[in-house]
Symmetry: C2
Subunit: 143 residues, 2 copies
């Protein structure tokens, strides 16, 4: 049976170490700082993608603790529409950039570096609000 | 830039009318009862897919109120891996099956009809637990 063609789907992971989070500096377009993540492979769950990408891009084993939200505005990725599921995870150790990441380091999510790629500034604002209030982003966004 | 090939992504919508929900009887394989839903088109958000599919399959306008979870186990769809984002929405009016739905009717989510297609029995159990406790399904499932 032919499968439908849909926008590609990715997982991003906000990896927490203490009260800091790991961000990468991207090696490829679009440049800037970003939450680590990548595309879902056939045969893996979305949450397994998040764990795999943390291993590949920031060289850390992470334990997923929450799903923050799904972000799918058609213009959020300048390479073409990409849907992403954003997870929050605990990590330990020292992040080391690899693969798509030129570097990886710890940042204060309330004072992130600039520029942030994609819609990651919005995602980090949603993350901080979730930390402060327990409230997830609204499931409905204006199309 | 060539886009990656990923498992197709869908949105499903648990449409609530009072304390009942709308389920469809599927016209196509896999047969059985199901939560209405369908694949995400390029250019639309995942939540807009949920609203569009409710209109197409059960002939109702819905208002999304929550996102329940993301389900992506590779074997959850016998047609091939499909990732789905499940929303909870309020609806009113009288459901009428169309498109992929042979029929649509109201059911008690605590006593759903059988057989349910895909992993929709698991999703409805998660939904009832969310109603009762406010707890969403764990974001981490064994791969």
């Amino acid at each position: 049976m032919p499968r439908p063609e849909c926008p590609p789907i990715a997982a991003d992971v906000i990896a927490e170490i203490g009260d800091k989070i790991v961000l990468i500096e991207r090696k490829n377009f679009p440049h800037g700082y970003a939450i680590p993540g990548g595309f879902v492979d056939f045969g893996e769950t979305v949450e397994a993608t998040a764990v795999r990408e943390a291993r590949e891009e920031i060289s850390l084993d992470v334990e997923i603790r929450e799903m923050l939200g799904v972000y799918s505005r058609p213009d959020r990725d300048p390479r073409g529409q990409t849907i992403t599921v954003v997870y929050i995870a605990r990590a330990s150790g020292v992040p080391k950039g690899a693969d798509d990441a030129k570097s990886a380091a710890l940042y204060d999510p309330r004072n992130p570096p600039s520029p942030l790629a994609f819609d990651h500034a919005e995602i980090l604002r949603d993350y901080v609000r979730f930390l402060d209030t327990g409230q997830r982003p609204s499931p409905w966004r204006k199309p």
